[in-house]
Structures are given as C-alpha cells and as structure tokens.
Symmetry: C2
Subunit: 403 residues, 2 copies
C-alpha cells in the first residue's frame, strides 16, 4: 500500500512523504498504473459510493471506519430537453449530491482515510469554499482536527457552514497562491495538507470518471466537459481515462475528449490554450460570479492543458452572462440547482458546439461540480409570487395554470 | 397501472381521481399489496435510485423521461462514534443527499411522474420548505408548471431557492391546515395537488424503507427512528414494512419497531401517544427551531400513531435544546450537517434509550430527512477563527494542532 507518486511530465517518482510536487516543478499523482492494469469493473453494491474503486486508490475505506459520509455514486442524468441548447446529446453528472454538496468529497475522502491510516491527528487545506467544507466534515467523522486556511477577506457568512463541523479556521493576510504552495512544502508532523491538486486529492477525484465510464457502458461518451480551477479535477479525470485504457476497459479510439472550461474574467488555462503555449502562467484576474474556480495561478494548470490536448479536446472560457443563463436553464429545464462555477461547464458546452468542437451527435457528459443550494442568489422572487386569500385559491390557481 | 387507493383503517377503496382521503376521514394509500406479494430484491443498478422499486410503485420512471433529478439510493452510514451518545448501535440514513437536499424528493418523483403520465400540465403543493423546493425542481424537469402555496409570512429569503426552478408561488393569508385540506378537495383539471400525506407521496416515501431493509440484508434493523410532521413519511415506512412482510422478505418477528419523533413545542402525535388516545387531534403549537416539522394538526397523525403502536414502537418528543445538541454531534462527530428537523430524530434516539425503549444492542436506523446546508444557523464562527499573517502559518498551525 505504500505507493509512490510520479510526475506525469518527467516521470520521476518519490514517496508521498518526500514531496507533493516534482523537482521539475510539475505536480505529482499516485503511481497506480500497475493496479489499473488488472482492474475490472467491480461487482460491489453502488451504495459503497466511490470506495467501489478501492483497487485503484492509494487507501481503502476501511481506514476511515467508522465510515462517516459516503461520497460518490452520483447519478448520470440524460438531459434531452437541453440538447438543443447544448448543441449535442447532453448527460449531466450532478456532483452536488455528494454529502457536503460538491465533487470535493471524493478527494477529501481519500486524503482523510490516508491520514487516518498514517495515524495522523490533523489534516489541512487551503480553500474558502467547497474544499474547506468537505475537509472539515470528513475530518470530523474520522476524528481528525481540520485546519482550514482562507483568504483574510472571506465573508463570515460563508465560514459558518465550515465552522459547524468544528474546524479551526485561519484567515490569512497575504498572497493566496504563495499560501497554497508554502503549506505543501511545510515540514509537518502528525498531519498533512491535502490541497486541491495534491496526489491524494487527484486520486479521489479520478473516481468521477470511473463512474461516468461505468455508467456509460457498453459505449463511452465522446466528450467530458468540466469546470477547471486548480486543474486537480481535470488531472484526475485524465488519469482515470489513461488507467481505464491500461486496464483494457476503454479502447484508445474511444477515449473521450476532455474540455476544461473557465470563467472568462479569470482564465489562465484557456489563455494558454488560445495562445498555443506549452505551459500555463499566472494572469491578472478580473471579478467573476464563478468564485469557486477563480484561480489566477492554477498549480495544475499545465497538466490540465496537457490533458485537453492529449485527448483531442480544448480549453475555453465563458462570460458570466453565459454562465447565468446556463444556471437558469439547469434549474428550470433539468430541475438541477448548481453553483455558478458548475454552470460554467454547460455554458462551455454551448460555446464548444458553436465552435464546431462538439456535434449534435456527440454524447457529452458535463460534470456539475457543486450544489447551488448552499448560497442564496439574486433571483427575482417577487415577480413569481402573489399574495392571496385562502378563499381565492381555486380562482388564482385557475388563472395561472389554466385549470 | 390504474391502481386503486385504499384506506389503511376501514379498508374502503377508490380511484385516486375520486378522492385523496377516505370518507371515514382517514388518509389513503395505494393498494399495491398484490405487487408486493411477488416483489423480489431487484438486480438493477443502484444508480437508478429509488426507481429500482418501480414494481411496487404506481408509476415508473419512464413516465418522466427525460428523467431529471434521480432521487434515492442514499447511503446507510454506520456511526459507531455516536453509539454511546445514542445508547444503541447507530446507523444513519442521510436523505439530504437527494437532489434537492431532502427526503421529499422520493414522493415528489412519484407525484410528478404520475402527473406526466396522466398528461397533466401542472402540479400543486402546500409547503414552505423542502417539499415546495422538491416539487418545483421535479416539475421543472418534467415540463410541468409548479404551483406552490406558502403561508403569507414566509420569509422571501426562503422562497429564493424555490423561485429558481420557475415555480409559481402563492402567499396565502388564512389557516394553513384548512389550506392543506381544501387544496386536496379542489376539482381541478390538468393537474393535482400532491401534499405531504397524499397517496402518491406516501408511495414514493416508502422507498426509503425498502432501501434500508435492502442495505441491512441479510439481517434487519431492530428499530427505525424518524422525525414526523404530517405523518406521510412514517406512513410510507410502515407501508413498506408491511409490504416486505407480504413479499416474504421480512419475517414478522423481524419487523423493525417504528419510532416517530416530534419537537416538544409542537407534538400532537406524541401527546396522543402519551395520553393513550386512539386518534390525534390538533394542538396549540409553540415555537420550535424544527420549523419543517411544526405541524399542529397532522393529516396522517393517527396513521403515524397506529404505525408506532402496531410495530411495537412509540412516539416521543424532544426539547429544542436536545435537538441543538444532536445537530452539533452529527456535524462534529459524524461529519453530517442536517437541519434541526432531522436532528430531532437523533435526539429522539437518545431519549428512547434513556427510557429503555432502545437497548445498547439494538441496531437502530435514524432517518436524517434533510441537509443542513440550505440554511445558515447561529454557529459561533469567530471563536473558531484566527486572523494571521502568511509568515505565521507554520507557527500558528503548530500551536493549534500540536504538529
């Protein structure tokens, strides 16, 4: 079980305890290719969640017993009523149905289980949103202390959900990108930082792609479209596809194209793609409603860019206006309320169809990373609401629904 | 598929179109006993959610295609770290992982699918919380108009989640219990009210018990503890147990005892149980933090009371203080954030253990009906938060976690 971590780019390997990032500068992931070679679709009950894929994970659920929240096994929803809007045959993967309402639970579960197996007392993370909440909840269930580092100006209201789970919260004055990198380089005892693109987190995040491919059997989707911030999730999805190819469960000509999508006001990876550059560099960000993915200096940006290129995909960015529209369509047509950072992916699908990257015949899976119910948005409630008397119910109803 | 509805009490049957409540005054449920007699645990994939149990439902998922949100298949979590607190062997069923964050999705899915099959244009409901949100979301996915009737004083902030899905919202001045009953008696075309304890909703709600019993195989839990408001969910759970007995999948001596729990400030069913009365009557309610279950005149109160008695269970109520404590324990020990109305169930488990109704050896399933992330609560964020400089991260971390 003492698996090594490997650089996707230069191929160097290390023990996880040695480094969470390669000396060449690129991020690492677990070297699970040997396990993947013998992997077969599991017979286990889906109610085990993502732990069904324990054979290709660096740790199993038994390390976290008593188990706590169970991430994964989210449904795959065919959303035919949105096909015309999307310009393709659309499938949605609502990751908001994970226990803390976002895709982050998958990586957290692996990070916490691994820490518990190592006898750790605490787990740390640098985040002000979904990842902080997820880490706090799973740490609580595993009996570990959670140390959460957020930007100093994070609104208290947003921290309330995190504080419920008993986390220690640090508001940090200073550069957030530096904080992210420096916490990973700390010499710590009794704990470890599991930030967004670290090997443990990427290992967990890859299970979403295992699920999508299993749910799609016997065929495979033509494309997977997902929002991208640090690049950790895109890296995990890419790794899963490579492993499934290694396992002989996915033919090389059937590997889905990966399309990471960003919000236009903060799109360093899309910028690098557009300018045909080999690596991603930091940009000066603008404001966006997609706060969860506004990362101006993504630590796995180059890896996500490579994932898109190697699979024949692309990286695009979308306006906040397009994101708002996609969010509204998801809520009113598919019945799914998502955060703006998730709606970015559907807006991206539409944009990719416009550009001819996706065809009407393409089977496209869009990963909706987080629930929209954790925040209130600027929705016009009054225009949809009438105040009436009890006696008027029948008449008012008839006027509205024509009954 | 044109199944009849039957009174659990006097046995009279009707077509659903005729009545949603028996002429004797008691509520109806679908007469699915014949289907239950031949029911076997399904082989289907769990990612089909509760539609795995379509054989015992009045309608199948195909009636809602394209499918929209997929309810059910929530995990069953063993929470051993809470055994001492609970006084028994505790299992949790986190229904907050349903698409709109609550158990209501199960009944809604059946109601909407049935309406769509009938060629309806709209669906109505009387609710200001989880049920209104759930109905709005599933109606949107099925292309039906949702008409939601709320008390006139419902805060706009709470309605925002509902408005997102495009529902028509009516703030109604007047008695809420009367509104509930009168909407069910309306002669309507092109739509139907699916309120909390109606036959369609009870049919969907029963799937949670099918899941629990399937997840527990080959044994069965000794008890199921759940919050109760209208009594619709408790009725559904009871019906499922009866059906599984009919199917020969549950021995009569293994039928779990049912324990509905209420908030003490508004506990008409617990009051009737305590006073050993045959039926439940309306009470004058006090204020409680468990707003979702504060029903002073529960339409299926007597049915829920009967369910508890017939299975050898009981009905209890708990103080808001006990509910707050249980909510905190769930968040900090099991990593599960729930609404107060769900925490009531765990507080109830503790109370039942104190009274000797539950033993340390009892395997007890507690249904956590809704996610806590849809609202903000009064949590002391500041005491868990420190503002620090980037340079101080290592020192501050060490001080807190002892690394």
């Amino acid at each position: 079980m003492d698996r090594r971590v490997r650089c996707y780019d230069c191929g160097k390997t290390y023990r996880l305890e040695e480094r969470q990032r390669c000396s060449c500068g690129e991020p690492l992931w677990f070297d699970t290719d040997a396990d993947a070679a013998t992997f077969e679709w599991p017979d286990d009950d889906w109610t085990a969640g993502m732990w069904r894929y324990a054979d290709v994970l660096p740790v199993s659920a038994t390390a976290t017993e008593p188990m706590g929240p169970v991430p994964g096994a989210t449904p795959l929803v065919r959303a035919a009523d949105l096909d015309e809007y999307a310009g393709c045959s659309l499938h949605l993967k609502p990751e908001g149905q994970n226990p803390t309402g976002s895709f982050k639970d998958r990586g957290t579960a692996v990070g916490v289980a691994y820490g518990r197996r190592d006898g750790h007392d605490w787990i740390g993370t640098v985040s002000h949103g979904n990842m902080a909440l997820s880490t706090s909840a799973y740490a609580a269930a595993a009996g570990l202390e959670a140390a959460v580092f957020v930007p100093a100006d994070t609104p208290t209201e947003r921290l309330e959900l995190i504080a419920r789970h008993g986390a220690r919260i640090f508001r940090v004055e200073g550069d957030y990108g530096r904080l992210y990198a420096e916490t990973l380089a700390l010499e710590t005892d009794g704990g470890r930082f599991v930030n967004s693109d670290t090997p443990l987190r990427v290992a967990g995040q890859k299970t979403v792609a295992y699920e999508i491919l299993e749910q799609f059997r016997p065929s495979a989707p033509d494309a997977i479209v997902l929002p991208v911030s640090s690049g950790g999730q895109a890296s995990g999805v890419w790794k899963a596809l490579r492993e499934l190819e290694t396992a002989g469960l996915l033919d090389s000509e059937d590997v889905p194209r990966l399309y990471p999508v960003q919000a236009a006001p903060c799109d360093p990876i899309a910028t690098a793609y557009r300018e045909d550059r080999a690596t991603v560099s930091a940009i000066e960000p603008g404001e966006t409603i997609a706060v969860s993915i506004a990362n101006a200096d993504p630590p796995s940006g180059t890896r996500a860019l490579t994932a898109a290129r190697e699979t024949g995909g692309a990286v695009v960015s979308v306006s906040d206006e397009a994101t708002r529209e996609a969010m509204d369509r998801l809520a009113t047509t598919a019945g799914l309320s998502v955060e703006p950072s998730s709606a970015v992916a559907l807006a991206g699908v539409r944009e990719l169809s416009r550009r001819g990257e996706l065809d009407a015949d393409d089977e496209v899976v869009t990963i909706l990373t987080g629930s929209g119910y954790k925040e209130r948005y600027d929705v016009d409630v009054e225009s949809r609401t009438r105040t009436i008397d009890l006696e008027a119910v029948e008449r008012e109803l008839a006027a509205v629904v024509g009954s």
